[in-house]
């Protein structure tokens, strides 16, 4: 039996190009893995068996004809937030349980054009609102490293599927940490690009000024290949940036000699709700490794970082309440039974189909934007956002990249934080500032630490860059992965 699940996208792509394996074989292999193992994880909402095999056949023909792009025939999974033509796109919500998208998101179309095969759509927190995948209408996703623990969120299904190698890679989206936090919890590599680098067209909107799509994979070199296909200007997204896309694989091997790494003293300060001691020790060991590779560690200050979570919980709910007003039970999605009038149709369709967390955020946003409160909430938050962003600008005058933990602790148990939304929100304290500033950041696996239940779980470290420095982040991550093997480790049950 071939062990294709132990191969990275980079390796699978080379094998496909060399004709050592066909896309149909690979696709069948991963579909079989999903069939036999996903009942343990619940990482997929929809599996596209027929479509995937048809795409695989097409890819094999292109590979035979020669000159096929690098990702041709590689099977991956898409987060169920991306619209996929003719395939159910639920966004983890009862609201869209019956929604068959009539078009492809640009990310999906770009991947299709690159020859990628879509295995299916992954589970996620409802409308990407959550940090544990527990708000999904389709049930919680389990962490492959320990089935009692959450996979993180909102891209929890994508992270779990890649971690268990039910798919070699997947796409995700990140509004406040939704790629990096689940990547950290599941021991995989994830990248949130610069705001505007990847098109948001057809990606169901949560908070439009923060949302950004990115790759989730086994390694930095895999993420580089995926980002090459995902990124680019799109006239259908008014915030898409008209800037040439570099070859993200080109600089992976650049030496790190002289690299200046900034360590925000606020993130490493010992405070309540701050970093767990074992997580800290693991991060420090990774930093030592970087020093050994010739990098210099420099303490920096991000004085306004402490205000990120409060700012986020104004900006994100305000934008979500606006974006989710489109779900009205009229044109698509859920409609309540026997509405007695138009208002009843609106309010009951929304009240019955949105889950509690989504309703909470819509209400917070509605309150913050309501008459008389705009200046005190949204305007104030946007001002603070400027200060947070300026902190990073100043830091990048002194350093090339910033390193920090991705999460204060490793993956917590299912149900541990569901009664207390605030403690759930605080699990994103290290990731949110990046979205507010619009800069790119990665999470890479750097070891293991016990969670609050004493189970050994993966630790993720963030590498944060200045605007459009994705190639540098990938280079910095790749060099570490050349001398360590955390990213190749597999959970026992999925070896």
């Amino acid at each position: 039996m071939s062990m294709y699940h132990t191969k990275s996208v980079t390796e699978l792509s080379a094998m496909l190009q060399a004709g050592e394996v066909s896309s149909v074989e690979l696709t069948q292999y991963f579909l079989e893995r999903i069939k036999s193992s996903d009942d343990k994880l619940n990482s997929f909402i929809t599996v596209c068996e027929e479509d995937a095999l048809a795409q695989a056949k097409e890819s094999d023909e292109k590979l035979k004809a020669g000159n096929a792009p690098a990702l041709t025939g590689v099977p991956i999974a898409h987060k169920d937030i991306f619209c996929t033509d003719g395939v159910k796109t639920s966004c983890g919500s009862k609201m869209l349980d019956n929604f068959i998208s009539p078009y492809d998101a640009t990310v999906v179309a770009n991947m299709r054009n690159a020859g990628v095969v879509m295995l299916g759509k992954t589970n996620m927190d409802e409308f990407a609102m959550g940090s544990s995948n527990e708000t999904s209408f389709y049930g919680v996703v389990k962490n492959p490293w320990n089935l009692k623990a959450v996979p993180g969120g909102s891209s929890g299904g994508s992270a779990a599927a890649v971690s268990a190698r039910l798919a070699p890679a997947s796409t995700g989206t990140d509004t406040g940490g939704s790629i990096r936090q689940p990547a950290a919890f599941c021991g995989i590599t994830g990248l949130k690009p610069t705001y505007g680098r990847v098109s948001r067209f057809g990606m169901i909107a949560f908070a439009s000024s923060l949302d950004q799509a990115g790759p989730m994979g086994q390694s930095a070199s895999d993420c580089a290949l995926l980002l090459n296909a995902m990124a680019g200007f799109d006239e259908k997204d008014s915030t898409s940036i008209e800037k040439e896309v570099p070859d993200y694989s080109a600089d992976l091997d650049k030496p790190l000699q002289g690299l200046r790494i900034g360590l925000p003293k606020e993130y490493f300060a010992h405070s309540e709700g701050g970093m767990d001691a074992e997580v800290e020790a693991t991060i420090k060991a990774a930093l030592d490794q970087y020093q050994a590779m010739g990098a210099e560690l420099i303490e920096i200050e991000l004085p306004n970082s402490g205000i990120s979570v409060p700012v986020y919980y104004v900006v994100a709910p305000a934008e979500c309440s606006t974006n989710l007003s489109r779900f009205d039970g009229v044109r698509y999605g859920y409609r309540c039974e026997d509405p007695k009038d138009l208002n009843d149709l609106y309010t009951r369709s929304r009240g019955e189909a949105f889950g509690a967390e989504v309703q909470r955020r819509i209400m917070v946003g509605t309150y913050a934007l309501s008459s008389g409160y705009y200046d005190a909430y949204y305007l104030k938050a946007q001002q603070l956002r400027h200060l947070i962003s300026d902190d990073f600008t100043r830091a990048y005058e002194k350093v090339d990249v910033i390193m920090a933990p991705a999460t204060p602790e490793t993956a917590f148990n299912i149900g541990e934080k569901t009664d207390d939304p605030i403690s759930m929100y605080l699990s994103d304290i290290y990731t949110i500032a990046v979205n507010l500033a619009g800069i790119p950041a990665m999470s890479i696996p750097v070891g293991f630490a016990n969670n609050s239940s004493g189970e050994s779980m993966p630790v993720g470290m963030q590498i944060i860059g200045n605007h459009f420095e994705e190639a540098k982040l990938l280079n910095v991550a790749h060099k570490y992965q050349q001398v360590t093997d955390w990213h190749t480790r597999l959970p026992e049950e999925f070896k």
């Binding site: 000024s209 819509i362 917070v364 939304p421």
Partner: protein, 95 residues
């Protein structure tokens, strides 16, 4: 910041959400806690700070005023809850 049950009702109405009376107290508690968290913003003086609406100082891109959409009404209406003769049906609005 404390939000009372009556205020939750008002916000839910503005947000077009039907909320069960039984759920109102827990929403009131949650919303109050979230607004307490958000109130930490007031500790920082932002006098004279420009609000940041976009990570880059870019202006909205404009395009030529030409038709770019094709007519896909049938496909779009195929996924609608209720349509007739190309129209979306809702309960009667005017008696």
């Amino acid at each position: 910041m404390s939000i009372e049950v009556d205020e939750v009702k008002k916000i839910a109405k503005l947000a077009c959400l039907s909320v069960d009376d039984a759920d109102l107290p827990s929403y009131a508690t949650n919303l109050s806690n979230i607004l307490d968290l958000v109130a930490q913003m007031n500790a920082i003086d932002t006098t004279g700070v420009t609000p940041m609406s976009h990570p880059f100082d870019v202006v909205q891109r404009l395009r030529e005023d030409v038709v770019t959409e094709t007519d896909r009404r049938e496909e779009f209406q195929a996924i609608a809850p209720n349509t007739e003769d190309g129209l979306y049906l809702v309960p009667k609005v005017i008696e």
